[in-house]
Symmetry: C2
Subunit: 199 residues, 2 copies
């Protein structure tokens, strides 16, 4: 076994490190020098994998574009879902940070406030998500304006909870689901479904 297992970095390694900094400290702190220090190499490596810092940032944005809205839309556009099922699917999606990374969303929103190109990507994601939620309300019989408004209230409330980083325990959140459902829809969750929660 040779000792010189030359373990070269990949472009993906740089992207992953960049994403970590983006999550915790914002896009301004995603700097070539700091990434190199963290990865224990010199910046020479970086400029072999990337043309410039800007190319790294572009790649970060592209990766988020591909990954982050699909899960949400997919969860609530299953055929045969009624409104209860759609909204519960959203609650479940937002419950666990593994499936839907709030911090990445927040970081992109911060970033978008300063860079118009990023802003466009974030806006598009919001539009797609809200439209998907809205569709559920419309199919459940709500009037167009009310359906759209209820979708916005639902989405913004959720964004608000993790923007404010209010930490509520998992069990407590599940306990509130019927209440949220009643606020968001004006209707009462069916008893069968309430009994089936917490499962």
């Amino acid at each position: 076994m040779v000792q010189s297992e030359r373990n070269f970095l990949t472009r993906g390694d740089w992207l992953e490190a960049a994403k970590r900094i983006l999550l915790t400290e914002g896009i301004e702190q995603v700097k070539v020098q700091r990434l190199a220090a963290r990865l224990k190499v010199t910046r020479g490596s970086f400029y072999w994998h990337f043309k410039s810092r800007q190319e790294l940032l572009d790649a970060l944005l592209a990766a988020w574009r591909r990954s982050n809205t699909e899960a949400l839309v997919a969860a609530i556009t299953q055929p045969g879902q009624d409104l209860e099922e759609r909204i519960l699917a959203l609650f479940r999606l937002w419950l666990d940070e593994d499936v839907f990374d709030h911090r990445l969303d927040t970081a992109l929103r911060d970033w978008g406030r300063k860079k118009p190109a990023v802003r466009q990507a974030v806006d598009e994601a919001d539009r797609r998500r809200i439209a998907a939620i809205e569709q559920g309300f419309l199919e459940a019989g709500f009037e167009p304006l009310e359906g759209r408004t209820r979708a916005e209230v639902l989405y913004f409330t959720q964004v608000g909870y993790y923007t404010h980083e209010i930490r509520i325990g998992r069990a407590e959140r599940i306990r509130r689901w019927p209440l949220f459902y009643r606020i968001f829809t004006g209707r009462t969750m069916s008893k069968a479904r309430v009994a089936g929660l917490e499962g």
Copy 2:
């Protein structure tokens, strides 16, 4: 009239310039060099008025602390207000950017995501505002958990609207007030009040 009207800068001038940059480009861009360039003086002036860049940032935070939550709490804690009046007062407060500067709020939230001391100030403001709203629900007869949750939904929805910078016309927003009221409270706004809107 002497030509040498030496118009010296005040500490307030620096703070105002800093606030402008904070609003548009975030706290990282609040740099002594840029402020000096914008104010057409050298950094020598800054370091006479302030001990360091940090002292400027501290002063910015302190100013926000003093100013930004009072108006909201005052608007909804007038004696004799019922729930309708309180919520309408909030809607009106948020309608015009002059009285409640959303951008400054957003900028502080961004800043707080990176600096724990700022984070504490923002959290405290959120708690005070939500508690004030919650009080209105409780006095209107809602159960504790529901009152608190409805207050959060109301507040987060509003934060969401300007976090996402959704631009809705003034008239359109006013038109939606009865609908928002119904979603947030589960009750219908009195006809007398609806007729009195748009005034």
